[in-house]
């Protein structure tokens, strides 16, 4: 079974530029999550989708971050404009159902904002 795919793996941008990350979850997984992991910290949930609907986006900075999951499969996370404090690893995860904790993580995208 293929795992969660993410691209790109690394991205360097200047502040105020925009950037987009892509995630392809495990086939059949209804729930998709985007996490932000700042160096030295645990992952923090940004947004959770159930199929193509948003379940939780309470910690998503909506003035600059947006995410979508069209057709309930792939998802994109966008930052516009980026700030220095957005430098982090952005992890995508998926699960068959929500709440069970059995999430499968992709390798992440390391974003550096200069």
């Amino acid at each position: 079974e293929a795992g969660v795919a993410q691209s790109p793996r690394y991205k360097i941008i200047e502040k105020r530029q925009s950037v987009a990350f892509w995630c392809n979850p495990i086939s059949g997984h209804a729930t998709l999550y985007w996490y932000q992991q700042i160096l030295g910290q645990g992952p923090k949930l940004l947004i959770q989708f159930q199929n193509n609907g948003v379940v939780d986006d309470s910690q998503l900075p909506k003035d600059r971050f947006s995410a979508e999951r069209l057709k309930g499969v792939d998802s994109t996370l966008k930052i516009q404009p980026a700030k220095l404090e957005d430098s982090a690893v952005y992890l995508c995860a998926s699960s068959l159902t929500s709440g069970s904790g059995e999430q499968y993580f992709g390798p992440g995208t390391r974003l550096t904002v200069t």
């Binding site: 030295g40 709440g99 904790g101 999430q103 390798p107």
Partner: protein, 114 residues
């Protein structure tokens, strides 16, 4: 509010020695508890989980964890570590329902001394 504390930022143990990583949680009801491992440049992998029942749970790679309600702890153990166990370990808590997000601790970095 639910929270997870991992008091040890970095631990070094000798190869073949036993390991215990500490985790304390704060949650109003019976939590769902997890341990994840993150190797450098990789996403997180679920080691084990506790939902209910036997308080000693077995996981992959020879790890086990014990849920102690009276101490609000869920410590991870391994009787004999291998060099390949060097990684970052995250404890996490969830309410278990579809509306419950997973809260991660800040992680413990494990180094193995040859």
């Amino acid at each position: 509010a639910q929270s997870v504390t991992q008091p040890d930022i970095h631990i070094t143990v000798s190869e073949g020695a036993s390991l215990e990583l500490r985790c304390n949680y704060s949650y109003g009801a019976t939590p769902y508890l997890f341990w994840y491992v993150q190797s450098p440049g990789q996403g997180l992998q679920l080691l084990l989980k506790y939902f209910s029942g036997d308080t000693l749970v077995q996981g992959i790679k020879g790890f086990e964890a014990e849920f102690k309600r009276s101490q609000s702890s869920f410590n991870l153990r391994k009787p004999s570590v291998h060099w390949s166990d060097a990684a970052e370990y995250f404890c996490a808590v969830s309410g278990g329902s579809s509306a419950s997000k997973i809260i991660f601790g800040s992680g413990t970095r494990l180094s193995i001394r040859p």
